[in-house]
């Protein structure tokens, strides 16, 4: 039954948006991955969440306000081609009502590609998180399914664009409360070369905690930097 809710939440997302106000956000981030010649890869990424704030009062204007920084570190081990297991740590600093709140997070994840042919890929990721916050301890289970494809041809070559769609369902729980969240993302990426790509798109988040729904529409911009061996197909 829970699984049913886990997946059906994705499809009910849009019906909820009409019922509540939607928060607008911009989330620029940078992700750096270094792949060793063996099966190990290391990643560091940092994200800044900026929220559109509308002040009350006559003549008040909207403006962007920084609300959160999250920095993550991962060690990833390739079990087999396109099958990866990772462990990581994250530090989050959140500004709420002019007060900072810290969060330390441990993460374990397992990801693999379900389908990869003619440049199109379907991949999924399951992640467990242990969130240590000032307000208490929380567990979070996340499942993400994603699809990406070159927008021209059957291979993603340097200088080309790709499209990406992902959907992630998150279930947060501890011994006193639980909550759901769904994150739907659609965007495009510029594949500059095998070391750099820039991805941007719109993420729609809907979360439920108790009887309260919250909607967020976020512009996500990520610069991926990837240090690894040289170009594809080196003749020997």
């Amino acid at each position: 039954m829970r699984l049913f809710f886990f997946f059906s939440l994705s499809f009910t997302s849009f019906s909820v948006i009409a019922q509540t106000n939607t928060q607008l956000q911009w989330e620029p981030s940078v992700s750096y991955t270094y792949k060793l010649p063996n099966r190990w890869a290391f990643n560091a990424n940092t994200m800044f969440r900026n929220r559109m704030v509308e002040y009350n009062g006559e003549g008040a204007e909207r403006e962007m306000e920084w609300v959160l920084n999250e920095t993550q570190f991962f060690a990833t081990y390739s079990l087999w081609k396109n099958t990866k297991m990772s462990g990581g740590y994250a530090f989050q600093s959140r500004l709420t009502d002019e007060q900072f709140f810290d969060e330390h997070r441990l993460m374990e994840q397992f990801a693999f590609v379900i389908y990869a042919l003619h440049g199109k890929r379907i991949a999924n990721r399951i992640r467990l998180e242990q969130r240590i916050r000032q307000s208490g301890y929380q567990n979070r289970l996340r499942y993400r399914l994603g699809f990406d494809s070159p927008l021209n041809g059957e291979e993603l070559d340097p200088g080309e664009l790709y499209g990406i769609v992902t959907n992630e369902v998150l279930y947060t729980f501890n011994n006193v409360q639980q909550g759901w969240e769904n994150r739907l993302f659609g965007g495009i990426g510029w594949f500059f070369n095998r070391q750099y790509k820039l991805q941007t798109g719109i993420m729609y988040r809907v979360s439920r905690s108790g009887n309260r729904y919250r909607n967020v529409l976020a512009l996500s911009t990520i610069m991926y930097i990837n240090r690894r061996e040289r170009q594809k197909k080196i003749r020997e």
């Binding site: 940078v30 992700s31 750096y32 991955t33 010649p37 063996n38 099966r39 990643n43 560091a44 990424n45 940092t46 920084n69 920095t71 993550q72 991962f74 390739s78 087999w80 081609k81 396109n82 990866k84 990772s86 530090f91 600093s93 002019e98 900072f100 994840q109 990801a111 590609v113 890929r121 999924n124 990721r125 994603g146 990406d148 041809g153 993603l156 070559d157 340097p158 200088g159 080309e160 990406i164 992902t166 070369n193 095998r194 070391q195 790509k197 991805q199 990520i222 991926y224 930097i225 990837n226 240090r227 690894r228 061996e229 040289r230 170009q231 594809k232 197909k233 080196i234 003749r235 020997e236």
Partner: protein, 214 residues
Amino acid sequence: MYQSLWSTWVNKFMHRICLVHLAWIILGGIIVATNVAIAQTDLKQEVEKRIKKSEMPSAALNYLSEHWLNESRKIRYYYETDGANISYEAKLIREKRRFSIEFDSSGSLQDIEELIDYEQIPASVQANIDLTLSQKYSKYRIQRVQRQFLPDTTQQNALLHFSGLTTETVDNFEIEIDTQEGSAVQSYEMLFNVEGLLVQRRTIIRRSLDNFLY
């Protein structure tokens, strides 16, 4: 008291700002280091683009129209370059067989490749391929197999015809495999001749999964 609260808040704020900036400084340093490394690297870029039929070389179109197009479906045209060489490719399905037909920039036929199952390779050839792979790798998995037909270069205007693409006329087998060598996992594109002997091996570096992982 207000002053004390204010200074505490300022201290906390500065502390956060420092943490945030520290994260950026670390990543900025990494980016600069990466840029230096890239500047020192020879960036040879392979590009494949889908093109319109009209963009194909006329000699290639003539050959395709005469021998392939009428009885084929799902026909796609591609332009490919590795920076130095240019080639054109037509991918199509004929009688449930998948072909890719490659031409050089002038439209001369380079080769025809047909997607097949590994089991379609003759048993004696398979045995040689298996022997080579098992000697080289502790673990391997065959992902994709194509048989390759080359035009007879001893003849002028040598062409290949659909009816002539049989087990007897195969020139090479191109196999994509995932392998394990010690602790490393790697993918290769390997070319075997008609006897099953290794002719060429190319390393395949797959697209990063970072946009799915993090």
